[in-house]
Symmetry: C2
Amino acid sequence: MTGRPTLAVVGATGAVGTVILQILSQHADIWGEIRLIASPRSAGRKLAVRGAEVEVVALGEEAFDGVDIAMFDVPDEVSAHWAPVAAAKGAVVVDNSGAFRMDPDVPLVVPEVNPHAVRNRPRGIIANPNCTTLSMIVAVGALHAEFGLRELVVSSYQAVSGAGRAGVETLRQQIALVAGSELGTSPGDVRRAVGENTGPFPEPVALNVVPWAGSLAADGWSSEEMKVRDESRKILSLPQLPVAVTCVRVPVVTGHSLTLHARFEGEVTVDRAREILATAPGVVLCDDPAAGEFPTPADVVGTDPTWVGRVRRALDDPTALELFVCGDNLRKGAALNTAQIAELVATEFQ
Amino acid sequence: MTGRPTLAVVGATGAVGTVILQILSQHADIWGEIRLIASPRSAGRKLAVRGAEVEVVALGEEAFDGVDIAMFDVPDEVSAHWAPVAAAKGAVVVDNSGAFRMDPDVPLVVPEVNPHAVRNRPRGIIANPNCTTLSMIVAVGALHAEFGLRELVVSSYQAVSGAGRAGVETLRQQIALVAGSELGTSPGDVRRAVGENTGPFPEPVALNVVPWAGSLAADGWSSEEMKVRDESRKILSLPQLPVAVTCVRVPVVTGHSLTLHARFEGEVTVDRAREILATAPGVVLCDDPAAGEFPTPADVVGTDPTWVGRVRRALDDPTALELFVCGDNLRKGAALNTAQIAELVATEFQ
């Protein structure tokens, strides 16, 4: 295998697909052909990548002819069917759905944390983690490498674009309905204003927070919460790590934030934690509250790194740190990590 | 001391004072005179309470003549000066500022949790907890009474009305600026739209979350975070309780939400936790995710109880529970608890 590999982008017209094309246009161009694949409905559309217009082709077996690496950003059931088809035709699949993440024969890869895992892919499929896991795991991985993680308590502040274009459109419509009003001070008035227009969310999200993301898993947990726990354990190779998670949707367009309470093997210091975070690849330390410096989603949207602030040692436990992390859920949380994995695999073709 | 006590409301024209007057008009009328006190600027205004117009008088020593119980909702420095003046004139002061909460000679009272503490008030002053502490402590106290609390990890989703009328006005102005736009998808665009109009917050709060509330305390902690820890310990009489807190402001008008990871002395069950929460005074259990039921600020605004949902046992620790709690920060979080304390004290006058 030599030369420039052929790349396929499956789901090129979606919210994450759009960001993938931007990233492919910005990163060093290591690719031969870039083929854009989407549902038959979108076939024939032309999208810009690397400064040229490329026509979208319909998803089908022949679409993978000659493809070396295929990025998938499509619903779980579409990946479940088509990723093995692409792999059977010889492509290495990098899949951003939830279909394969916990498959023991599929590595779950974050290039800054476990790049080695990319080589062990018996099914020819590599999974990209969930956007919420990805919004924190680079920072957590850097601290774990030095301090040894023992326990993680996570609360999320998740942007609506995590629910796709429909999530963004729903928030914009709701914001327009409540802007300029006195809504939000009486019980139920936001709900009355919004009506049934809650889009992919179970409750109004404008002027509100909604403690639910995903579908119902066992024992009252949401699927999103289970993903954060199970994926963190797999990526960090800590299958017994206690991880407690509550996922909450907030009225932010793009940018997932999380609070972390992380307990380690022994005593930690804030000074050393800051050094680790300030030098870790893919992490930016933004932590000077006296100067008003901490990350917020409005600042990190559109950027690549995991931003970390509010670094404190727990007042009552010298082995624990408190952190606030922020990342762009469409970039590192989805498209960027997918591209990074594909670029890692592409080095095998040189 | 017999008959109907005379009540003073100091700070009657503020955001919390307004809610206090509503509550006094709704609760059983146990009061003799209700005197409204505010800054000299507001003196002469007439406000409705118990269906009648009452003229506001200026804060001064003589304003406390004949007052039995005085509720204070004014800035810390105003309380620090005037609460002892009112107490010296014989009034029992119920103070909602931060001036006296950690004073060992001032009880910090939540009537559902530690009503007995109200009687031990050597300075004649009783303190009302911070709104964030109050948004969770009734539920936490009920679980502690049965299970024995050992550790608490808290993340907040705090409404802008916790920063007073200026906080609400700032969010409304910012929402108007971003409504109908594509803002929130590019770095810095919300900040550019909002400009310097961040009001009492260090960053734009519309389409954003801001991991900061209060002023800078030691070691990178915010004053709000320290309050939640220190006040929870004092109210629960657990001076050594490990409490880890990260406080985050969200674009919600009224209604503080918190995620809780609570570890107890021994094994807990979700069924028993739900029974406790379903029967605890001042708590409403709203927890059926299969039916889309969990509390959100838009639902709880204007109501009295602490709403609890998302009750789960930690997957990796049978002694810990995960919870999502919601409460009206202006009612139970401020005005209601103040009124409840005053009503407790008033029983001494019967």
